[in-house]
């Protein structure tokens, strides 16, 4: 139900809107109407992604107040923010858990969109912009990992940079750009910090704007079954926004409790001379790590570039590879089997990596 001028002016918020001259904005936000089936429990992932991204932005902004991007002080500044500030552990925890959960929810979002054929016309560009967004998030993680200047972040970055360096033609240039020199030192930390807090958020906002633009003008995917397109509809404001705010509060409180009871650990300070440290890959990168481990020597480019790049290309090009109008997964057998094989392969590689790094080492 749209908010009318009369309703606006009846309460304090209405007065505020009038004072700020936002009547037109509110009216525009009230116009879009969304089917109620689009806000059912199994279609929450898009809204949850946005909740997590906002939490990441807010918690990251607070952490930035106390962060010092210099190798000699970066660790201490994170240590101070984490353990000496009131609610420091909660803020750091929300940031940490949010990106982990974001990866899962984005994965679910992608899987659901794939299964229901949401990439089919006319929503091809919604899909493509979403796939690109999915790639941006790991870039945040990679650049953010180095910032605490702890052993894990430092040596994980060294490993990643060596992988990037092995990419033919552009590897050296990319590492020189990221590192700013031959060593992972103060210039690298400054660049990673700038990428993490300025460049990537800007890029993310741009891509989110594009993603929402296409959602707005191409619409959400229709239900797979049944033709009841005339089901009940609610306006974006206040219907959707209020629900999103409730979700935001619930997730914030839940992550706050989790952060309090499972404090995010801060590893030992980075020691660039301690080559005995072997970083363990994080859960989300286990399958990529296994690919690198499998393809060695002259074949390493397979594990570092060709297979991951091919998967990304396949995902992005999906709307153009599967051009039939059919959305029912039961009638898209070939596509579903290919996807299942890829998913099975990724899961298998991840399990292998988990066993290799977390079980067989006996250190956990």
């Amino acid at each position: 139900m749209a908010v009318t001028d009369q309703q606006c002016k009846k309460n304090i918020s209405g007065v505020l809107i009038a004072v700020l001259g936002l009547e037109q904005v509110i009216a525009n936000l009230s116009k879009p109407e969304i089917r109620t089936d689009a806000i059912s429990w199994h279609r929450f992932s898009g809204g949850l992604n946005l909740v997590l991204l906002v939490l990441l932005f807010l918690s990251g902004s607070v952490m930035a107040f106390y962060y010092s991007p210099i190798p000699g002080t970066a660790y201490d500044s994170v240590d101070f923010a984490l353990f000496s500030l009131p609610f420091g552990e909660t803020i750091k925890g929300i940031h940490h858990y949010s990106w982990n959960i974001l990866l899962v929810v984005m994965g679910l979002h992608l899987v659901r969109a794939f299964v229901v054929g949401a990439y089919k016309p006319p929503r091809q560009l919604v899909w493509i912009s979403g796939v690109i967004l999915l790639v941006i998030v790991p870039m945040f993680i990679v650049t953010g990992d180095l910032l605490p200047w702890d052993q894990k972040g430092y040596w994980s970055t060294r490993v990643r940079l060596s992988i990037i360096q092995s990419i033919p033609f552009i590897g050296d240039l990319a590492v020189r750009f990221l590192q700013g020199g031959p060593l992972t030192g103060i210039v690298a930390l400054t660049r990673f910090y700038a990428l993490h807090t300025l460049f990537l958020p800007g890029l993310l906002l741009l891509l989110m704007g594009i993603h929402f633009h296409f959602i707005r003008y191409r619409g959400l995917s229709e239900p797979l079954f049944g033709e009841e397109k005339s089901v009940r509809r609610i306006s974006f404001l206040p219907g959707i926004l209020n629900r999103w705010l409730i979700l935001f509060i619930i997730v914030s409180v839940a992550l706050g409790f989790i952060s309090h009871y499972w404090t995010v650990p801060l590893g030992d300070p980075a020691d660039p001379t301690d080559s005995s440290y072997i970083p363990k890959p994080e859960w989300w990168v286990l399958f990529l790590n296994q690919l690198v481990a499998i393809f060695k020597g002259s074949l390493s480019v397979m594990g570092t570039v060709i297979i991951p790049g091919g998967l990304f290309g396949l995902l992005a090009a999906l709307p153009f590879l599967d051009r039939s109008a059919e959305r029912d997964p039961a009638r898209r057998i070939v596509v579903m089997i290919i996807a299942a094989v890829i998913l099975f392969g990724m899961t298998g590689l991840s399990l292998m990596g988990y066993i290799e790094h977390f079980v067989s080492t006996g250190k956990q």
Binding site: F83, Y97, Q151, K152, W262, P265, L266, D268, W283, K363
Partner: protein, 333 residues
């Protein structure tokens, strides 16, 4: 029903996922040995408390150089913390109980220092971060490379901003008062005292010991006050001592301690101790408030991890065996 199963599975997956997201809580970085501090609702009642039998000790390997380069020796280490304090139970093999610490002995004509020193154990924590301490342990503070003569070794940090918290239990000097001398570590160059070339400093307050000798350094100055019962059997404490008035009363073979422990007080007396030498082993319990409120002490926050180092001294003044691995204290909830 199906919805309940999905919700239950979801909660289970969430817990597993949280553990997966925090692998560092379970493991150490690199070649580091973890000492788990287990939480206890009640404070351990000394060395014989049941809780020490329930905990599996972590064997901290220690090795020295020269005469002390005996591989295969270790300090059995257990740690417990309460809401208020932290406790370390340290046990190590030592064939002899050494508390002589250069005591005076009279041979009928003159006084001389007996051979023999004392047994000791020291722990070092970071008050502020010490560069590379987490990965190298006390090697980051003990400048004792193999190509440097022993006289040139220094216990110190590299920068004034780096501060360590040093707990020093000594069998002859601190044990009589049941404490470990609490000091701190900074850059070398202490302008006064016997440690003037190291970075060791005493915490605020009194403690330590004084030399029991006359101005010419040829004989003892103090003896146990005959009118007082010794506060610590077998030791001569400064507070129990009186000046010797008549040296003719001594017989050949008489022994008088050379180092007189001074009654500790203030921040220097923060680390309390209990000890027992039994069956060729030292058993030492050290405990301290998690937060003493003193700026010359490390503040223990059970949510943090703490790198630390350990050194054992066997009847020695300087030579010691140090932990061969960097140590990491993790508080388990």
């Amino acid at each position: 029903m199906a919805q309940r199963i999905i919700i239950s599975l979801g909660i289970l997956l969430m817990v597993v996922f949280i553990r997966l997201m925090n692998p560092d809580q379970l493991s150490a970085d690199g070649d580091v040995l973890i000492i788990d501090a287990m939480h206890s609702a009640e404070a351990p009642k000394g060395l014989d408390d049941e809780i020490w039998r329930q905990l599996r000790p972590i064997q901290v390997p220690v090795e020295g150089r020269g005469e002390l380069s005996r591989a295969g020796e270790y300090v059995n280490t257990r740690a417990v913390y309460t809401d208020d304090s932290i406790y370390f139970y340290l046990q190590w093999k030592d064939p002899t109980r050494s508390i002589t610490k250069q005591s005076w002995q009279f041979d009928g004509n003159r006084w001389f220092h007996m051979s023999g020193n004392e047994d000791r154990i020291a722990l070092l924590f970071e008050i502020t971060r010490i560069d590379k301490f987490a990965s190298r342990g006390c090697a980051a503070t003990c400048h004792s490379p193999a190509d440097l003569s022993k006289e040139q070794w220094r216990l110190a940090t590299s920068r004034a901003s780096e501060k360590g918290d040093l707990w020093h239990w000594t069998a002859a000097r601190s044990d009589p008062y049941k404490y470990a001398d609490d000091g701190w570590l900074t850059v070398a160059g202490n302008p006064s005292g016997s440690y003037r070339k190291t970075g060791r400093r005493n915490d605020a307050g009194s403690g330590g010991d004084i030399n029991n000798q006359t101005e010419d350094g040829l004989r003892p100055l103090y003896i146990q006050d005959p009118g007082r019962k010794p506060s610590a059997t077998g030791f001569l404490l400064q507070e129990d001592a009186v000046k010797i008035q008549d040296y003719s009363m001594f017989k050949p073979g008489d022994v008088i301690p050379f180092r007189l422990p001074v009654k500790p007080d203030g921040s220097r007396f923060d680390v309390k101790a209990e000890s027992r030498y039994h069956n060729g082993h030292w058993n030492v319990l050290l405990h301290r408030k998690l937060n003493t409120g003193h700026e010359d002490d490390v503040i223990f926050n059970p949510k943090k991890r703490y790198s630390f180092a350990m050194a054992v001294f066997d009847d020695s003044g300087d030579d010691h065996s140090k932990a061969t691995k960097a140590l990491l204290l993790i508080f388990r909830h």
